[in-house]
């Protein structure tokens, strides 16, 4: 189990992440400058925390301020792929890969390098220098180099940020597959929510130096535990309301635009809340159809704006409050894939009914 609980001040910035990871890929997700990369540096041993403890997956203590333990980077058995890759430009791909296993007997070293070359599809590139390789190839060499010494932990710092989208998607799948095959613990830093979603077994949401929430990917994405996490996860529909009643794990939440029953075991049970729902989880249906079963909240809306986003359309849909005294209209953001958009003929009319299904709603406290 990788256990991180550290404290580090650099100028005004206060880094204080705390989370754990088993043999899985944990995405550190958050805006730029929130301390994700610094966390990796601390785990790798390139940044010394002021306080706290880092326990590596094998159980070895890499850092412990209490016992003044601080393993140097070369004794932490951590494979670290930095954002700029930092392939050694004066070495060939093979020399780069073998750098970390120079002390192994020659035959074993060769076999290990050959295995990694095959695993990452680098055949034929062994004698090339980094400048003679494409971005994707360099990326694979960096990964092979980090894996060569059979580390117990893999750290990946936005390794694909310089690559174009199709290559990123392919390398993401490869990284995930390689990690699973080697059964490694891995930390993957990204500020790209799509990447976090595609890769993460677990997600740790960072903001301003701390981990606001961490847990299995779907839990975190579906049930943000604070307004800030919901914002960072691009939930987009964060609707003010208040809990009316609570019984047997089901909260009845009233907002000016709708009333919903929310089954969210970890949600607050009373007081002011925000109701959160992701734009892709909102259902759009015709207003002249009969209403669906009572589990869903249905709201009549009017499209006020739409933005084509390539393979999806973002719709801005205005809902009037149930009572005009209750305030302003609310504008829902809804993402709809191109195909249903065309089949339903969204462009042909302005009035649409939206449906919010109970399992996609979550509640966060409102101060």
């Amino acid at each position: 189990m990788l256990r991180i609980d550290i404290d580090k001040r650099v100028g005004d910035f206060h880094l204080r992440p705390k989370f754990e990871a088993g043999n899985e890929l944990v995405v550190l997700f958050g805006p730029s400058g929130c301390g994700k990369s610094m966390t990796l540096q601390a785990v790798a041993g390139l940044l010394r925390p002021d306080a706290g403890r880092i326990e590596l997956p094998g159980g070895a203590v890499a850092f412990d301020a209490a016992t003044r333990t601080d393993l140097p980077p070369q004794r932490r058995s951590v494979g670290y792929v930095v954002q700029e890759l930092a392939l050694f430009p004066h070495m060939t791909a093979r020399q780069n890969i073998e750098f970390g296993i120079a002390g192994w007997p020659a035959t074993r070293r060769r076999a290990r390098a050959a295995h990694l070359v095959a695993l990452l599809g680098l055949d034929g590139l062994e004698d090339r220098r980094p400048r003679q390789m494409s971005g994707g190839q360099q990326q694979r060499v960096a990964l092979a180099r980090a894996l060569a010494a059979e580390p117990s932990l893999l750290l990946l710092d936005e390794p694909f940020s310089a690559l174009e989208a199709p290559l990123r998607a392919m390398l993401r799948r490869e990284v995930a597959a390689v990690r699973r095959r080697l059964d490694l613990t891995a930390l993957f830093v990204t500020h790209d929510l799509g990447e976090a979603y595609a890769l993460g077994d677990r997600i740790a949401v960072y903001d301003a130096g701390e981990v606001l929430q961490h847990g299995p990917r779907d839990d975190v994405l579906r049930r943000p535990r604070s307004r800030r996490v919901a914002e960072l996860l691009e939930v987009r529909n964060i609707i003010p309301g208040a809990i009316d009643a609570y019984a047997e794990g089901v909260a009845v939440v009233r907002t000016p635009w709708f009333t919903a029953r929310v089954r969210d075991p970890e949600a607050p049970v009373r007081g002011d809340v925000y109701v959160c729902i992701r734009p892709e989880h909102i259902i759009v249906e015709r207003t002249d159809r009969s209403r669906r079963d009572g589990g869903n909240v249905v709201i009549d809306t009017e499209i006020v704006e739409e933005v084509p986003m390539g393979n999806t359309h973002r719709l801005y849909m205005r809902a009037q409050p149930a009572d005009a005294d209750l305030g302003e209209p609310y504008i829902f953001e809804v993402d709809m894939p191109a195909h249903p958009y065309e089949v339903l003929g969204i462009a042909s009319r302005r009035d649409w009914r939206i449906g919010l299904t109970a399992e996609h709603l979550s509640l966060v406290p409102r101060a």
């Binding site: 540096q41 790798a44 041993g45 390139l46 140097p72 980077p73 070369q74 004794r75 932490r76 951590v78 494979g79 670290y80 930095v82 700029e84 930092a86 050694f88 430009p89 004066h90 750098f99 970390g100 296993i101 002390g103 400048r131 180099r145 980090a146 060569a148 010494a149």
Partner: protein
Amino acid sequence: MTVTAAPPADRPGVARRARLDWLFGPPALLFVAFLGVPLAALVWRAGNSGELGNNITSSLVLDSLRLSAITSTVTLLVAVMVGTPLAYLLARRDFPGKMIVDLLLDLPIVLPPTVAGVALLVALGRRGVIGQHLDAAGYDIAFTTAAVVLAQLFVSAPFYIRTAKAGFESIEPVYEGVASTLGASPLRTFVRVTLPLAWPSLVAGAILCWARALSELGATLIFAGNLRGDTQTMPLAIISAFESGASIDVPIAISVILVAAAAALLLLLRLVARGAAMRV
């Protein structure tokens, strides 16, 4: 075919530059001639004297050539051995007094070398601050071949250290960080990663240092004197040859050797720089 494939003359920027040629060309040419003519004259006189071979193999020239070769090489080796760690520390570490060390390294570059000679004499001369104790212990430095090396080292090592420091600074620390996560000790990281990446700068600095040591005159004259065979390097031999009132062909012979050596070193420097550019 793209726009960039068009002949240069079609591009307005190039055409405008061509018109400026009439304005800037003459002073430029004049200065090139000012530099080139004396050196050409030197080589031409040397070739025409018919005595070049004899002069070059005269004992005065051979003695100074041998001494210059030995002292400048020793200077270079010492500069590299002492200067490399200093350059690395200056590039990678913060320590108290770093600014003063930086300043110290610049001073010999801007000071007249004769000042360096006086300073060395005051420190290491027979009655110098340190020299008097060395003298009491039976060691004499001033006016020996060792003094030649020290004088050269004082004025030329900063050229190596400056260039090496810039070379180390240009390496992103992330390379060294990654090397350490790959299990490399600090020393192995330095030898396998830092040194090769800084290599072009180190070689360039070494060439500059060597060239400066080879041409050293003022500090040597004051701290080491002008003793044939012991402290008379080639630049000093030129002065002696003039003072002896003998033929001007001897100074010419020495000068030609120095010009050839300097040109060879500069050519080497260009090759190293181009090699470095191609590696990136």
